[in-house]
Subunit: 203 residues, 2 copies
């Protein structure tokens, strides 16, 4: 199988290509893409070679075509409904987030355990109680979820999500989740990104 | 210089090592670390070799010592004060976020342009008006900032931050920022993480 670390770079390539497209550029090269991303052009060619022949030597990549192929490889040539658990400050911001559309994801269900929040609507979605989460996710065959609860609730929420059929969890809470081997978990950890920058700052 | 892509992995190694430490493990190997992270042990050894000799062949790495060295390399053996611009739903969640402490960062100043929010306090920090941002950041010699404003305000905020002496920006808004070459920018983009997972889901 293709190494995780290679799969991890594909969404970065797709975002950069989409950006070039939005600026009216139709063709690019691994050299130009590499300069833009701070990744060597050899690394980009090697990564893409796992998936077949893209672009001809010397003529570069047709950006529209490569975007389509990457979307197919990443399974985002469709729209995945997403369950969001925890609708506090962060959860509300996520429910309003405009960065999901046209990139393969849509927040479809909201869950919280605070009685004062149950029944409120955000963007026409009703906040549902966590005791309805299992059935609701199962019935809608939702496979992707985001956790925006406090850290001490995140593991129990993850267990309930896996039981309901969720296969991919994006966790914002600062705690490592323990899940079965076939469940994918990604973390949003601002400190990782901040540390990537302090390396370059004056000591 | 060391490739960006290598620097990008060091915070991931540091987080994993700190986690092993918290579980009472004192020694590890690139093989064990690699299995944990989904990165080949050869890649880990190669990455670390950019910075000198860590651990002896066959005896592995002393985790406490390697953490100290990585913290020094990443410049997080100190605490960086951080300016946060935009104190709406996401900004409030960031101002309360417990994941910064003991990892090199502390939210030190809050800014917003909504008159109704100016003067409010969060965690003993007062929300200041953006027209005071330049002087306040300059006086406190803050070098790191986070943007949690709407996308259409983010570029103008970034320009003001750079002018005030900020050298590293973590941007949560879904828009690419244009900054001078010596300014570091990182993005929090949940879609990148979601796409890394959908690759593995049933088509
Ligand atoms: N990674 C990041 O960039 C980032 C940034 C800010 C905050 N956070 C994290 O996001 C999480 C949410 O932060 P916040 O400021 O919005 O907190 P908050 O307290 O405002 O919201 C948490 C919400 O979760 C709900 N909740 C609690 N337990 C629950 C459970 N068992 N099931 C369902 N809902 C439950 C609460 O009722 C509340 O509505 C925290 O873990 C915080 O550390 C992450
Ligand atoms: N990357 C992620 O994970 C993620 C998740 C959710 C939201 N977001 C993004 O974060 C941003 C904030 O989202 P939110 O839901 O908190 O929005 P919000 O409207 O609740 O908060 C925005 C805040 O910014 C302030 N503001 C607006 N213009 C400003 C300016 N020029 N200077 C200073 N402050 C200014 C507003 O007064 C408000 O307090 C948005 O860009 C949103 O798309 C990112």
């Amino acid at each position: 199988p293709v190494p995780d670390i290679v799969i991890g770079r594909l969404p970065i390539y797709l975002r950069a290509l989409k950006r070039l497209l939005s600026e009216g550029i139709e063709v690019t090269s691994s050299r130009e893409l590499g300069r833009w991303l701070g990744i060597s052009s050899a690394q980009i060619r090697k990564d893409l070679s796992h998936f077949g022949e893209f672009g001809k030597q010397g003529t570069g990549y047709h950006i529209g075509k490569l975007c389509g192929e990457l979307e197919q490889i990443l399974n985002v040539n469709r729209e995945w409904p997403v369950a969001l658990v925890g609708v506090g400050d962060l959860g509300r911001a996520l429910a309003h987030y405009g960065g999901f559309s046209h990139r393969g994801f849509r927040i479809a269900q909201l869950f919280d355990n605070d009685p004062a929040k149950i029944g409120q609507k955000i963007n026409e979605l009703e906040i549902m109680p966590v005791n309805k989460m299992g059935n609701s996710i199962e019935e809608a065959r939702i496979r992707v979820a985001m956790i925006a609860t406090p850290a001490d609730a995140a593991q129990e929420v993850a267990d309930a999500l896996v039981k309901a059929g969720i296969r991919a969890i994006l966790n914002y809470a600062p705690i490592a989740l323990i899940v079965p081997g076939d469940i994918r978990v990604q973390y949003i950890d601002p400190v990782i990104h901040l540390q990537r920058m302090t390396y370059y700052l004056e000591k």
